[in-house]
Structure formats: structure tokens, C-alpha cells
């Protein structure tokens, strides 16, 4: 496996950054264009993953394991957030029978 | 020093006591105000009328920010301190015929305001000055907004925001000065010693001037004033017009002139022009006012315009005139508002056209009212004349045309004041005024004191002039010296 990865090296760090930025932005676009709370939430996960990827790339680039540890924390957060987020969504759904974010606009002005 | 601290904090302590005194608030607050007056008179007697600062207290306060509790009294301060301490008991006495709800709060606020005012008039630390400046504003806002008349909430909010707008810009200026001061403190003498270039002085002038101009008020920053005076309870109006307005004038003398003389020098033309426009403008408006209180409010604008013009003329006569007129205007305007309050308390109206013929049924009121009116129109022999004469002379030294236009006040003043007096007091009594009863009890006491002050100060103003002379001279020398070194 080490061999394989050694062979695959040589991708400029830039490209990892671009890839992350693009995926991150795709996540943002998802948040912007969708109304389904769960899909929006999934888009957020997409953003987090983009960050994870970038962190790992930086970690490898600077030969420092702390970046990958950080990814671990992010994953922990993602797990926690998913639990809380989905329970919130479920709770909202129970009350409104909808997970359309536009339904929720009583609080305004 | 102990005396000064006592002078400042006695009313504050009194305010606390009064706040918890329930029904007897009237008496307690009167006693405290009278004790303060006694203390102030005692201090005035032991005051040596030279240019020095006396009774100086200089205690550390917020040392990290360079803020000290630094207060002292010189001739100029002494005069306004006296004014405050004379008027507060009078104002409290004048409220005796009213049964305000929550009297303890009412009188506590008055005493609280007294402390704030005294702080303003004695502080020698800019920060302290600012604290006092606001501390005086809050109580009067509550007095006016709580016990006021129609539409009081909106009007007082406007007044409050307007004045505080000015004072915040003053705060800006104070901070700027503080930062300029190498010693990093707010000491007035350090501020005096600063050497600022004319650009800095220019904008500092405006930062301070607008605050003071709003307080006084000077045209065109005056529009809060007639509404507020009209809507406030009379004691509030008295506080506002009698004492609070002097904060602005005092501020100009104490903080504006010596700190930014170059700015004053560069912008005095504008300041005087505004003041003089204000005189004529407010007088002309006063001609056709239907509400007597509003008329007096406009007349106050005119009078203050003259005071301000006299100060910015930057000469001894104008400045001394301003000093005397501060006191005189305070006394007169309080008298005027009190008379209107008496009328309002009895007839529930201050509409000029509803009144008339009161002199027939209340001859004593007619006489004291006349004396107060005459004091207001600056008849020689009354206190108003000394001030207005010196002020006009001061303005005259600035420019003959300025004096000629400013002098219109003595004509216009007579026109609107006598017009009001005629329509209110003279003529035939009508159904409304026929039931009018003459003044009695505390009303008599208050009005007689006011009339006595009007005449005594008019005939023998020398102690007053003597009190302030050295300080004023010193101040002007300071200003001129700084101007000369800059140029």
C-alpha cells in the first residue's frame, strides 16, 4: 500500500486546495438552493468533508499528524451535530409536518 | 475642600433620604436645600474674590484612566454655584401648592440634579464635568417626562436625545484632548496648557460648541426647547431654564474659551452671528405666541443668544455681563414661570387670549409679575439691566452692527413681554379670571424673594461683579495670551 501511495504522490498541493474549495462551495450552493432541511444539512456535511480533505492534505504536506487528529475531532463533531440536528428536524417535523425551511418564518422583522 | 465635598454631596445624600421619606419629602427636601443654600452662602462669604481656585478638592478616583475627583471654585464657579443653591430652594418652595404624585421621587430627583449641577459647575476634571453634565440631565428628563403635560413623552425624548447628542460629541472632544495631553489626564489646567493647531482647535470648537449650543439653546439648535418648556411641569421648566441652561454658558466660559482659543477666534463670527440671529428670530416668534409659557420659552432663547454673543465677543464687559446675566436670567425666568404656574394652577390655562384682567382681582400678583417682567426687559434698576447693558457693550466692542441688531432685544423684549403682561393681567376680567385669588403663603414668599433679588441686584450689583471680576479677567488674559503665542 505504501508503494502505491508513494507512486501516486506528486499532485500539487494547490490542486487539493482547489478541490476542497470547489466541494466546499458545492456544499454552500446546496445550502443556498435547497429547502429541505435534511438536504441542507447534508450539504453542510459536504462542506465539512471538504475541510477534512484539505486538512489531511496539509497534514501530509507538512508532515504533521495533528491535522489528521483535527479531522478526527471534526468527525466527532459531525456525529454529534447529526444527532442533534436530526433530532431537531424530527422535532420540527412533529409540529409542522414539514421539513421545508420556508415554512418556518414566524419569527421575523 | 471638605466644604466643597459637602456642598456637592449633601444634596445627593439628601436625595437618598428624600427618596425614602414618603409624604414628608417636601419638608425634608426644603430643609436640605436651605442647608445647601446656607453652606453656599457661607462659602461665598469666605471666598476671596481673586482669580485663584479655592476650596479645591483633588482626590484620586479612577487612576488608571487618569480621572481624578478634581473640583474647585473660582469666581465664575462661585456665581453659578450660588445661582444653583438659591434657585433650588425657590423651586422646591414653588412646588408647595402642587400635590404631585410620588412626591418623594420628585424631590429626590431635584436634589439629585442639584448635585449633578454643582458637579458641573465646580469640576476641574473634564471627565468629572461630563459625568455631572449627564447626571444633571437624567433627573430633569424624568421630572419632565413623569410630571409633564400633554405629549410629554415624545417631546422629552426629543429633548433628551437632542441634548445627549451634543454631549456625546463633547465627550468625543474630551477624549481627544485627553489623548493629546501628554500627562494623560483630564485636568483642566493640563488642557489649558495644550498647544493645538488651528485645525484641531477648529473641530474641537464645534464638538464642544454644539453641545453647549444645544443646551443653551442657540439658534438653530433650539427647537427642542419651546416644546419641552411648555410640556414640562413648571418646576422642571424652572430647572431647565433657570439652571440647566447655564450649564451651556458655563461650559463655554470654562471649557471652550481657554482650551481652544484659536478655534474660538476663528469661529467666533459664526457663533456670534448665530447668537444674534437667535435673538431677533426668537423675539420675533415670541410676538405672536398664544401660550404664555411658550412665549417665555422663546424669550429665553433670545436672552441666551445675547449672553452667548457677549461671551464670544471676548472682552471683559461681555463676559462680566454674561456672568451677571446668568444669575439674573435664572432668577427672572424662574419668576416668570412661577407666575405662569400660579395662573395655571388656578385657571388650568396658560393661553394668553383666555386670560385678562387678573390685576383687578390679584393686585399683589400684578405687581410682582410686573417687577419680574421689568427685570426681564432689562429696565435700569433691575438685575436684567446690568447684565444686558454689559453684554450689549461687550457685543458693541465686537462690532457696532452686531450690537445694533442684538440691541433690538430691548425693543422686542418690551414688545412681547408687555403684550403678554397686558393680555394676561390688564384689561377687563372675564368669566374665567373673575374667580382668580391673589397669591398667598409660599407663593408670596417665593415671589417676594425673587422680586427682592431682582431689585437688589439691579441697584447694587457690585458684590456680584466683584466676585467674578478677577476670575473673568484671568480667564481673558489666559485666552489672549494663548492667542498671542499661537499667532
Amino acid at each position: 500500500m505504501g508503494n502505491l501511495t508513494t507512486q501516486l504522490q506528486g499532485v500539487p498541493l494547490n490542486h487539493y486546495i482547489y478541490l476542497s474549495a470547489i466541494i466546499f462551495t458545492i456544499g454552500v450552493i446546496g445550502v443556498l438552493t435547497r429547502r429541505n432541511a435534511i438536504v441542507i444539512f447534508m450539504s453542510v456535511e459536504l462542506m465539512l468533508n471538504a475541510v477534512n480533505l484539505l486538512l489531511t492534505a496539509f497534514s501530509v504536506h507538512s508532515n504533521d499528524p495533528s491535522g489528521q487528529v483535527f479531522v478526527f475531532f471534526i468527525m466527532a463533531l459531525a456525529a454529534a451535530e447529526v444527532a442533534v440536528g436530526l433530532s431537531i428536524i424530527v422535532m420540527v417535523y412533529r409540529n409542522t409536518k414539514s421539513i421545508d425551511i420556508n415554512v418556518l418564518n414566524r419569527l421575523k422583522w | 475642600m471638605e466644604q466643597l465635598l459637602l456642598l456637592i454631596f449633601l444634596p445627593l445624600a439628601g436625595a437618598v433620604i428624600t427618596a425614602f421619606s414618603g409624604k414628608s419629602a417636601k419638608i425634608i427636601s426644603t430643609v436640605i436645600a436651605v442647608i445647601s443654600l446656607g453652606l453656599a452662602l457661607f462659602m461665598a462669604c469666605s471666598f476671596i474674590p481673586d482669580a485663584s481656585t479655592q476650596f479645591e478638592a483633588n482626590l484620586p478616583w479612577i487612576s488608571d484612566l487618569g480621572i481624578r475627583f478634581h473640583a474647585g471654585i473660582d469666581g465664575i464657579s462661585m456665581l453659578v454655584v450660588l445661582l444653583t443653591n438659591i434657585l433650588i430652594p425657590i423651586i422646591i418652595l414653588s412646588s408647595y401648592k402642587h400635590d404631585y404624585k410620588n412626591p418623594s421621587a420628585f424631590y429626590a430627583l431635584i436634589l439629585f440634579m442639584q448635585s449633578g449641577l454643582l458637579l458641573v459647575f465646580t469640576s476641574m476634571d473634564a471627565f468629572l464635568f461630563y459625568i455631572g453634565w449627564e447626571a444633571a440631565l437624567i433627573p430633569v428628563y424624568f421630572i419632565c417626562a413623569f410630571w409633564g403635560g400633554k405629549d410629554r413623552i415624545r417631546i422629552n425624548m426629543k429633548f433628551f436625545v437632542y441634548t445627549i447628542a451634543g454631549s456625546l460629541f463633547m465627550l468625543l472632544g474630551i477624549i481627544y484632548l485627553y489623548l493629546q495631553n501628554p500627562a494623560h489626564n483630564f485636568d483642566i489646567n493640563a488642557f489649558y496648557a495644550l498647544n493645538l493647531d488651528s485645525y484641531q482647535q477648529g473641530w474641537l470648537f464645534w464638538a464642544f460648541f454644539i453641545a453647549f449650543a444645544i443646551k443653551m439653546p442657540i439658534f438653530p439648535f433650539h427647537t427642542w426647547q419651546p416644546d419641552t418648556y411648555t410640556a414640562a411641569p413648571t418646576q422642571g421648566t424652572m430647572l431647565l431654564s433657570g439652571i440647566m441652561l447655564k450649564m451651556g454658558i458655563y461650559g463655554v466660559i470654562r471649557w471652550l474659551l481657554p482650551i481652544v482659543p484659536q478655534g474660538v477666534h476663528d469661529w467666533a463670527n459664526v457663533a456670534i452671528a448665530l447668537s444674534i440671529i437667535g435673538i431677533v428670530y426668537a423675539s420675533v416668534i415670541a410676538f405672536t405666541q398664544k401660550d404664555a409659557k411658550r412665549l417665555v420659552a422663546y424669550s429665553s432663547i433670545a436672552h441666551v443668544g445675547l449672553i452667548s454673543a457677549g461671551i464670544f465677543a471676548l472682552n471683559q464687559q461681555g463676559m462680566q455681563g454674561a456672568m451677571v446675566q446668568m444669575l439674573s436670567h435664572g432668577i427672572n425666568v424662574v419668576g416668570l414661570f412661577f407666575v405662569l404656574d400660579i395662573i395655571y394652577a388656578r385657571l388650568k390655562t396658560n393661553k394668553i387670549e383666555d386670560l385678562g384682567g387678573i390685576a383687578k382681582v390679584a393686585p399683589q400678583l400684578a405687581i410682582v409679575f410686573l417687577i419680574i417682567v421689568l427685570g426681564t426687559v432689562a429696565l435700569p434698576g433691575t438685575n436684567g439691566f446690568i447684565g444686558e447693558f454689559l453684554l450689549l457693550m461687550g457685543v458693541y466692542n465686537y462690532g457696532i452692527w452686531a450690537a445694533a441688531i442684538a440691541g433690538l432685544t430691548i425693543i422686542f423684549g418690551a414688545v412681547y413681554m408687555l403684550r403678554m403682561y397686558q393680555n394676561v393681567m390688564l384689561g377687563k376680567t372675564n368669566e374665567l379670571t373673575i374667580s382668580f385669588t391673589d397669591i398667598n403663603g409660599t407663593e408670596k414668599l417665593v415671589l417676594y424673594i425673587i422680586c427682592a433679588l431682582i431689585i437688589v441686584l439691579g441697584v447694587y450689583p457690585k458684590p456680584l461683579l466683584h466676585l467674578t471680576e478677577a476670575s473673568v479677567q484671568h480667564l481673558l488674559e489666559q485666552v489672549n495670551q494663548k492667542l498671542n503665542t499661537v499667532n
Binding site: N105 | H222, Q289, P380, L390, I410
Partner: protein, 632 residues
């Protein structure tokens, strides 16, 4: 007892009278009030006499008495001090003397008035201020008196304040005086700037060394003259004086004839040194004086109110005095002040007597034939009329002719107008006399039965004044009649003197012409009102254009109303309703309103829609990144 020790008593006594009468106006009996009121003036008069005579016998003609420092600020020091010199001492006599007579007269005239005590306290106060005016050793003390008499004038004109018209007249008097006062005050300021003092004793010696035509002095004198115009009722500020007849008649006699209105002349005479240096101002004074004399005389021709006639005659006579001042005849003017004080006080008191008898009827159209009912009044008034008409040898002849002679020397046109005015004066005065006293009674029959001569307290002052009016001219009999011109001599240390450059023949001729004119006027009046029994038409009746103009006082009040009062009121309303409320306050409120509207608008951003929020956030992020990386 020296002058210094006594002089302060002169004003103090009337002041005490004021205080006592003022405080005790309800508690003291009328008799006591009268005694106190008149007594203090009498005492003052006696002291004034003493002072006058000791001054006469004194080599030092000027005494300055320092009382206390009044105002001092910087270089300005104003002591409250008195100056006793020939000019002021003689004024003291007039004020206290005539003042006393009028007080005496008032005890009877006002006896039935509810405000008896108040009236006397006001009168005392007036005398006090007038004394202050003439005694002041500087312009500021003079100004105290100057404004003080204005105040008393206000109080006394508005004495019957329940009548709104009277109260308005009082206010008008005060305000018009104030217009002049502003001029006076500015003049004083200029003087202080120029001479460094407001003391007579410091100004006049400096001025004496100056050359005429100095611009500053011209300005000073013009400003002072404006002050005098207000006080002495000259064009264009004279309209208050006729209205001032609203006050009780003794007031008219005291204030609006004998004393206060002459303050302007006193002041100019006092400052004659300055005025001499300003020929330009003098010309103005002469022209205005002449114009005032003429116009007032024309108006007087058609007036039907007995006091109005006298009021306009006062204005007219004051015009004469200013003419005299303008042509440099300071002594002549002052002489006229003196004689005018006698006969005008007399005439007013006489008119008061008539009014008293007629139960406050003042319209001459309802009088007539009173000669028999009021013999003393008629006789004394006749003497006054002759005096004012300038018929020899009564006092008015001398003083008026001195002015006219000086005017002739100065400018023939002024003289001609003055002469014509003299003719008019004689005419309207006799018209008044004839309408009042001769012919048939024109009032109701009931009223006629109540008419009777006034009591002694009223007639005695009339008689004394009549004597003075008759012989008062003696104090300044001109050299042409072999007199020693005592007054001129007496005033010479104070007032600038001019040698009359006319030869005696011319003087005689001038006198002859004026006497002829007066006589002609008398005869014309006699023929018209006694022989022709002409009675002025009712108010509404049609008149010729000129008569209308005269009757309506040249519509001056209306013109002022149109030119000043109305525009000011309109301006006031404009300022208040538009400029103040809408514009200035509008800006202030507009700021508040704008913020509120902004709040209303901006709060809509908070749409409640999460999608929008996130969109705004993204937008913010993009903008922030762009801002940071494009501009930094």
C-alpha cells in the same frame, strides 16, 4: 449744610414717598397718602431751592457727589453719582416745583379714584426717576432715570388698566421710548469706546478740544438724538404722546408736558458740547424739529378732544425746542422748556379742571359756554393760551422768539415754517379756548346743572402756574429789550453759547412778524368760533382731504401699523409656523423620522427566511473577501 450733604435727599424723599405710599396704598387713609405724596415733593422742592441758591452764591458751579460704585467691568466704571450744576439745579426746581403743584392738584382731582394710593406712589416714583435723570453725573445714571420715567409713564398711562385701549397706549409709549433708548444706549457705547468713559466730567473736556465734523462724534450725536426723539416725541416716534392722554390728566400735565418729554432736550443741552461738534446732526435735529412742530400743529387744528389738542401742541412745542437745539440755541430751547413747563402744565391742569367739571367728558363738541361756570379755570387757561400763542409779554413770547430769531439767523426756511407753525399754534389754541368756554353749552341739560368750579386744591396750582406762565419770561429777557438774559448767563458754564448775530432792528422785525401772525390767528379763530359759532363736525362726517389728513393724524398710526406691526406679526407667524416648526424643527424631526423609516426598511431584511439569511451571509462573505483582497 452743603450741597453734597443735601443732594441725595432730593431724589430720596420722593422715593420714600413711593415706598410708603406703595406699601400703604390700601391701609393708609387718602388724606395721609396725599400729604405724604405731596409733602415729600414739597420737601424736595425746598431742598432744591436751597441748593439752587447756595449754588448761586457759590463760586464753584459744579458739584459731583459720589454715592457708590454701581457697575464696573474691565475699564468700565460706572459710579452712581450726582452732578449738581446750573443746568441740573434749575431742572430740579422745575421738576419738584411743578411736580408739587401737580401733586397738590391731584389730591383733589383723583380723590374719588380707587387707586388713589397707587397713583401717588407712581407719581412719587416718577419724580424720583426724573430727578435721577437730571442729577446723574454720567450717561448711565441718566439712563436709569431715562428708562425709569418711561416705566412710570407706562404705569401712569395704563393707570386705568381695565380699559384695554389705555393699556395698549401705555405699552405703545414704553415701546416707542425703548426704540429711542436703544439709540441712546448705542450712543453711550460709542462714547465709551471713543472717550473711554461715560462720565460727563471726562467726556466734555475732551470734546471741547476737538474740531467739528469728527465722524464718530456725528454718529454719537445722531444716536443720542434718536434717543431724544423717542423720549421727546419727535418724528417719527411721536405717536405715543397723543395716545398717552389715556392717563389721568395730572399725569399728562406732569409727564407729557412739563417734565419727562423735556428729558430729550435736557440731554441734548447737557451734551451741547458734543452736538456743537456735529453740524450735520444739528441740521438733522433742526429739520426734524421743524417738521414735527409743523405736522403736530396741523394735526392739532382738527382735533376735538381737549387733551389731544394739548398733546399735539406739546409735540409741536417740543419740535420748536428741537429746532432751537438744531440751530444752536441751546439756552433758547432750554428757556422754552422752562416756559413751556409753566404754561403747558397750566393748560393741562386747566383742561383737567374742565374735564373734572364735565365728569370726564373730553370732547369739545359737547362743551361750550363754560366761562361763567369755571371762571378761575377760564382765566388761568387764557393766560396759558396767550403764553403759548407767543403774545407779549407773556413767557412764551420770549422763549419762542429767541428760538425763531436763532432759526432766522441759521436758515430762513426753517424760520418761515416756524413762523407758520406759530400762526397755527395760536389758531388751534384759541380754537380750543373758544370751543370750550364761549358760546352755548352743547352737552345734556342734566350734566349742565352739575358743572361747578373745581375745589381749591385744584385752582391754587392753576393760579400759581398762571402767574409763572405770565411772568416766567422774565428770567431770560433778551438784551434787545435791555434784559440781562439771566438764564443764558446762568447756564453758560454748562451749555454751549452762541452770540445771536442779528442786529436789533431785525430782531424787532422778527418779533413783530410773529406777534402779528399770532394776532391774526387769534382773530381768525375768534371770528370762526365765537362769531361764527362753528362747531367741529362729527367723526363720520365728510371732510376735505386736508382736514381728513389732519383729523386722522396723517394716518401715521395706520402707516406704522402697515409698515412695522403687520409685517412683524406676519414675520413672526412665518418664523413660527414655517421656519421654526416646519423647517428647523422639521430637519430635527426629519432625522428622527428618517432613522425610524430606515429602521422600518432595514428590519425587513430580517425576513424570517433561513434561506435568505444564509444567502445574505454568503453574500457578506463574498463581499468581505472581495473587499479584503481587491482593495488591501
Amino acid at each position: 449744610m452743603t450741597i453734597e450733604q443735601l443732594i441725595w435727599l432730593v431724589p430720596l424723599l420722593p422715593f420714600l414717598g413711593f415706598v410708603i405710599n406703595g406699601l400703604g396704598r390700601n391701609s393708609l387713609s387718602k388724606g395721609l397718602v396725599g400729604v405724604i405724596g405731596s409733602g415729600v415733593i414739597l420737601a424736595s422742592f425746598i431742598i432744591s431751592l436751597f441748593i439752587f441758591f447756595s449754588l448761586n452764591g457759590d463760586a464753584q458751579k459744579s458739584h459731583e457727589v459720589f454715592l457708590f460704585d454701581w457697575i464696573s467691568a474691565g475699564k468700565l466704571h460706572i459710579p452712581l453719582s450726582f452732578l449738581v450744576d446750573p443746568l441740573s439745579s434749575i431742572m430740579l426746581l422745575i421738576i419738584t416745583g411743578i411736580g408739587f403743584l401737580i401733586h397738590l392738584y391731584s389730591t383733589s382731582y383723583m380723590h374719588d379714584d380707587a387707586g388713589f394710593g397707587k397713583f401717588f406712589s407712581y407719581l412719587n416714583l416718577f419724580v424720583f426717576f426724573m430727578l435721577l435723570l437730571v442729577l446723574g453725573s454720567n450717561y448711565i445714571v441718566m439712563f436709569i432715570g431715562w428708562e425709569g420715567v418711561g416705566l412710570c409713564s407706562y404705569l401712569l398711562i395704563g393707570f386705568w388698566y381695565t380699559n384695554s385701549a389705555y393699556a395698549s397706549a401705555a405699552k405703545k409709549a414704553f415701546v416707542m421710548n425703548r426704540i429711542g433708548d436703544l439709540g441712546f444706549l448705542l450712543g453711550v457705547f460709542l462714547m465709551f469706546n471713543f472717550f473711554g468713559s461715560v462720565e460727563f466730567a471726562k467726556i466734555f473736556p475732551q470734546a471741547a478740544n476737538m474740531l467739528p465734523g469728527n465722524n464718530t462724534i456725528v454718529l454719537i450725536t445722531i444716536l443720542l438724538f434718536i434717543g431724544a426723539c423717542g423720549k421727546s416725541a419727535q418724528l417719527p416716534l411721536f405717536t405715543w404722546l397723543p395716545d398717552a392722554m389715556a392717563g389721568p390728566t395730572p399725569v399728562s400735565a406732569l409727564i407729557h408736558a412739563a417734565t419727562m418729554v423735556t428729558a430729550g432736550i435736557y440731554m441734548i443741552a447737557r451734551s451741547s458740547v458734543l452736538f456743537d461738534l456735529a453740524p450735520f446732526t444739528q441740521n438733522i435735529i433742526a429739520i426734524i424739529g421743524t417738521a414735527t412742530a409743523l405736522i403736530a400743529a396741523i394735526i392739532a387744528l382738527t382735533q376735538t378732544d381737549i387733551k389731544k389738542v394739548l398733546a399735539y401742541s406739546t409735540v409741536s412745542q417740543l419740535g420748536y425746542m428741537f429746532l432751537g437745539l438744531g440751530v444752536g440755541a441751546y439756552t433758547g430751547s432750554f428757556f422754552h422748556v422752562l416756559t413751556h413747563a409753566f404754561f403747558k402744565a397750566l393748560l393741562f391742569l386747566g383742561a383737567g379742571s374742565v374735564i373734572h367739571a364735565m365728569h370726564h367728558e373730553q370732547d369739545m363738541r359737547h362743551m361750550g359756554g363754560l366761562r361763567k361756570k369755571l371762571p378761575v379755570t377760564f382765566l388761568t387757561m387764557m393766560i396759558g393760551t396767550i403764553a403759548i400763542a407767543g403774545l407779549p409779554p407773556f413767557s412764551g413770547f420770549f422763549s419762542k422768539d429767541e428760538i425763531l430769531a436763532n432759526a432766522y439767523e441759521h436758515n430762513k426756511v426753517l424760520w418761515a415754517i416756524g413762523l407758520f407753525t406759530a400762526f397755527l399754534t395760536a389758531f388751534y389754541m384759541f380754537r380750543m379756548m373758544f370751543l370750550t368756554f364761549s358760546g352755548k353749552y352743547r352737552g345734556t341739560h342734566h350734566a349742565e346743572s352739575h358743572i361747578h368750579e373745581s375745589p381749591k386744591a385744584m385752582t391754587i396750582p392753576l393760579i400759581i402756574l398762571a402767574v409763572l406762565a405770565a411772568i416766567g419770561g422774565a428770567i431770560n429777557i433778551p438784551h434787545v429789550f435791555g434784559g440781562n438774559a439771566w438764564l443764558e448767563h446762568w447756564l453758560s458754564p454748562v451749555v454751549a453759547q452762541h452770540e445771536l448775530g442779528l442786529d436789533h432792528a431785525t430782531e424787532y422785525a422778527l418779533m413783530g412778524v410773529s406777534v402779528l401772525a399770532a394776532l391774526a390767528a387769534t382773530i381768525y379763530a375768534y371770528s370762526k368760533y365765537v362769531k361764527g359759532a362753528h362747531v367741529p363736525v362729527a367723526d363720520e362726517a365728510p371732510r376735505s382731504a386736508l382736514a381728513k389728513l389732519s383729523y386722522h393724524k396723517f394716518y401715521l398710526d395706520e402707516v406704522y401699523d402697515f409698515l412695522i406691526t403687520k409685517p412683524l406679526d406676519a414675520l413672526s407667524k412665518f418664523f413660527y409656523r414655517i421656519l421654526d416648526s416646519k423647517f428647523i424643527d422639521g430637519i430635527v424631526n426629519g432625522l428622527g423620522w428618517g432613522t425610524n423609516e430606515a429602521s422600518k426598511g432595514i428590519r425587513l431584511l430580517q425576513s424570517g427566511n433561513v434561506g435568505f439569511y444564509i444567502f445574505m451571509m454568503v453574500f457578506g462573505i463574498i463581499a468581505l473577501l472581495l473587499y479584503t483582497f481587491l482593495y488591501i
